[in-house]
């Protein structure tokens, strides 16, 4: 058991899989010689060589298109998009090509690829480098969507994503990179589509993802002081979605709050709330509440950004209000 940063866990996860499977390769801007702008791929070039770890031009359509083509021809490529905001610059390749190809060819083509990307706010980078875009990926049929909240999950879910025969968008959260956590020794592989109950309690279920998970846990601790027992679930992946764990929790608590960093409209919280409303309506003891970033672009100034992204305080307040 070693303590690792979330950042280092990325390189560890990739290395574990590159070691095991020679068809795993990695490309992206500054991923090789520089070890990534977030240093998440440090050491991989040295360890696996320039044929398997390769710097690209600034060409996101080429990066994603090339990993698609490579996946069609025997590789299991990983493509890095430096910031998740840049998904927009290659959204056609991601949403219209990669996501749809297996279905449109009726199963002839497999695309075992992973798009890794730095997601989320809190770094004062302003509106074009801070977005949480997991809901974009969730809205596209044919993409799996993973977003780990701890270093151990980074390793396990990254391995799960790389081994998955389907395309996965893997969101690494910028605000978590520097955080540390215990990571078991040896090979770690996690199944996609398994949520984790991080805190058990009887009164309300809080579901969260990535950087919202530690906030949800903190909020739950505060809520306990107010006599509210909040169960916290880390979804870990949006597609596949572990509704079994979600339903089990809500059938116990009869209440649900979602905490998401993406902007409000048509976010993943809405999907979860709708599923529960449709399928567990009669189990609910009160409205489902969503804590989200408001439906605005993200501001750069620290005071404003902190106001925009869901805070522990906002989670606590929202839950207390709905339980009142």
């Amino acid at each position: 058991m070693a303590e690792l940063t979330y950042r280092d866990a990325v390189a560890r996860g990739i290395a574990q899989e590159m070691e095991r499977d020679p068809s795993v390769v990695l490309i992206g801007e500054d991923v090789a010689k520089a070890g990534g702008v977030f240093k998440t791929t440090a050491g991989l070039l040295e360890r696996f060589g320039p044929e398997r770890v390769r710097d690209t031009p600034i060409s996101e359509e080429a990066i994603t298109g090339m990993i698609m083509g490579a996946a069609m021809n025997g590789l299991r490529p990983i493509g890095e998009l430096m910031f998740s905001d840049f998904l927009a610059t290659c959204w056609d390749i991601v949403a219209n090509q990669i996501a749809k190809t297996r279905y449109m060819t009726d199963g002839q083509v497999s695309l075992p690829l992973v798009i890794r990307t730095a997601n989320g706010g809190g770094a004062r980078f302003g509106g074009q480098h801070s977005q949480s875009l997991e809901n974009w990926a969730m809205a596209v049929p044919g993409l799996k969507v993973v977003a780990p909240s701890t270093p151990a999950d980074v390793v396990g879910l990254l391995a799960g994503a790389i081994r998955d025969p389907d395309p996965v968008v893997f969101f690494e959260h910028k605000a978590l990179f520097a955080g540390k956590g215990e990571v078991p020794d040896g090979e770690i592989v996690d199944a996609l589509g398994t949520a984790r109950v991080l805190r058990e309690a009887p009164d309300i279920t809080i579901v969260a993802l990535a950087a919202m998970v530690p906030k949800a846990l903190e909020a739950a601790a505060e809520l306990a002081e107010h006599g509210i027992g909040a169960e916290v679930i880390d979804l870990r992946s949006l597609v596949p979605l572990d509704t079994a764990t979600l339903f089990a929790s809500v059938s116990k608590t009869s209440r649900l709050a979602t905490v998401e960093e993406n902007p409000r409209l048509a976010g993943w919280g809405a999907e979860i709330a709708s599923i529960v409303t449709e399928e567990m309506f009669w189990d609910l003891d009160g409205p489902i509440v969503r804590v989200t970033t408001p439906h605005i672009p993200l501001p750069a100034a620290d005071e404003l950004e902190d106001l925009a992204i869901p805070s522990v305080e906002r989670i606590v307040d929202t839950v207390r209000r709905t339980m009142a």
């Binding site: 080429a62 298109g65 083509g69 219209n96 090509q97 596949p240 572990d242």
Partner: protein, 328 residues
């Protein structure tokens, strides 16, 4: 490069004829309302598909567009399964899920027809990259139109292929039009592909796309170059579509003289004349045509009588497990 052998010559002729008859039938079926949606024919452009297909190795990979029936067929995809796909039948090569714009036969190296302009260029480059990494000796060949040279993905893909010296051949079928707009009204250079080649450190290669021997010769050359590790090529084949852009478009935006001039250069007619000059007997060529008609008739019959895809197939093959579940 070698001149085509007599056998290759007959194959080139047969391939063009098969593609021509197949697409003419597709058009008839469209007019009869049996082919739904839309269809983009390569009538008149067969020499490009035939010349390259004949020069390719069986494990080479073809990437093409919605105007890709010729390419997919001539890589060896079964005609009945292609026709079935056009008609949205169960026997379709993609089970009816793809449709006319999305023919794929991975087993034959036909790696898909892409309907969003430009997207398949980086994909083709990626397949070539895998060939390079895995050292398979395969070449990836990517067909697209003149209009495609103005979209960003073209630029990114050709650049990346050049930098990484990938075994990929980009083939621009310049048929003078992007849908209804003449390419020269939206492009500031005369040769939309060839004049851009130097921007990627490549030679501009122009070939008469209606002369199948010329295409075959260029194809051999650029395929060898790629296979030898000398990197990508960008080829511009000048050609013309006999009909409109898609569906029942009569192509009225094209000047009559221009159409007449190109119709007079029909690649099949030109090649038949040349083969006869080479001493091939007319009845041998007639037999090829008769066989092609029979093949098309058969493919049509099989497909027309095939059932619609079963309703259960709606929800299959989204994922590798064969299903479409996004939750447990």
């Amino acid at each position: 490069m070698q001149q085509p052998s007599p056998e290759t010559r007959l194959r080139l002729y047969a391939d063009m004829v098969r593609a021509r008859y197949f697409e003419k039938r597709a058009y008839d079926l469209f007019l009869q309302g049996l082919l739904k949606g839309t269809t983009h024919l390569g009538l008149g452009q067969e020499a490009v598909a035939a010349g390259f297909a004949a020069a390719m190795r069986s494990d080479d990979m073809t990437f093409c567009t919605y105007r890709g029936h010729n390419h997919t067929l001539l890589r060896g995809a079964p005609m009945d399964a292609l026709m079935g796909e056009l008609l949205g039948r169960e026997n379709g090569i993609c089970g009816g899920k793809g449709g006319s714009m999305h023919l794929t036969d991975v087993a034959k190296g036909a790696m898909g027809s892409y309907a969003i302009v430009g997207a398949h260029l980086p994909v083709a480059a990626g397949a070539a990259w895998a060939a390079q990494v895995r050292d398979t000796g395969q070449v990836s060949v990517c067909f697209f139109g003149d209009g495609t040279t103005n979209i960003g993905a073209f630029h990114e893909a050709v650049n990346m292929a050049a930098v990484w010296s990938l075994p990929v051949v980009f083939v621009c079928e310049n048929n003078l039009y992007m849908e209804y707009t003449p390419i020269d009204e939206v492009t500031p250079v005369e040769h939309p592909a060839a004049d851009r080649a130097p921007a990627y450190g490549l030679d501009g290669i122009i070939v008469d796309g209606n002369d199948v021997d010329a295409v075959y010769e260029v194809a051999q050359r650029v395929l060898s170059r790629a296979r030898d590790g000398a990197g990508p090529s960008l080829v511009e084949a000048k050609t013309y579509r006999h009909g409109g852009h898609s569906r029942a478009d009569p192509g009225k935006y094209r000047p009559d003289e221009e159409v007449a001039e190109w119709m007079a250069r029909d690649p099949i007619v030109l090649y038949r004349t040349r083969l006869e000059e080479f001493g091939i007997q007319p009845d041998e060529l007639d037999r090829i045509e008769t066989a092609a008609t029979a093949e098309v008739d058969e493919a049509t019959e099989v497909s027309k009588s095939a059932p619609a895809p079963g309703p259960d197939t709606l929800m299959t093959n989204v994922w590798a497990d064969g299903g479409s579940a996004w939750r447990n």
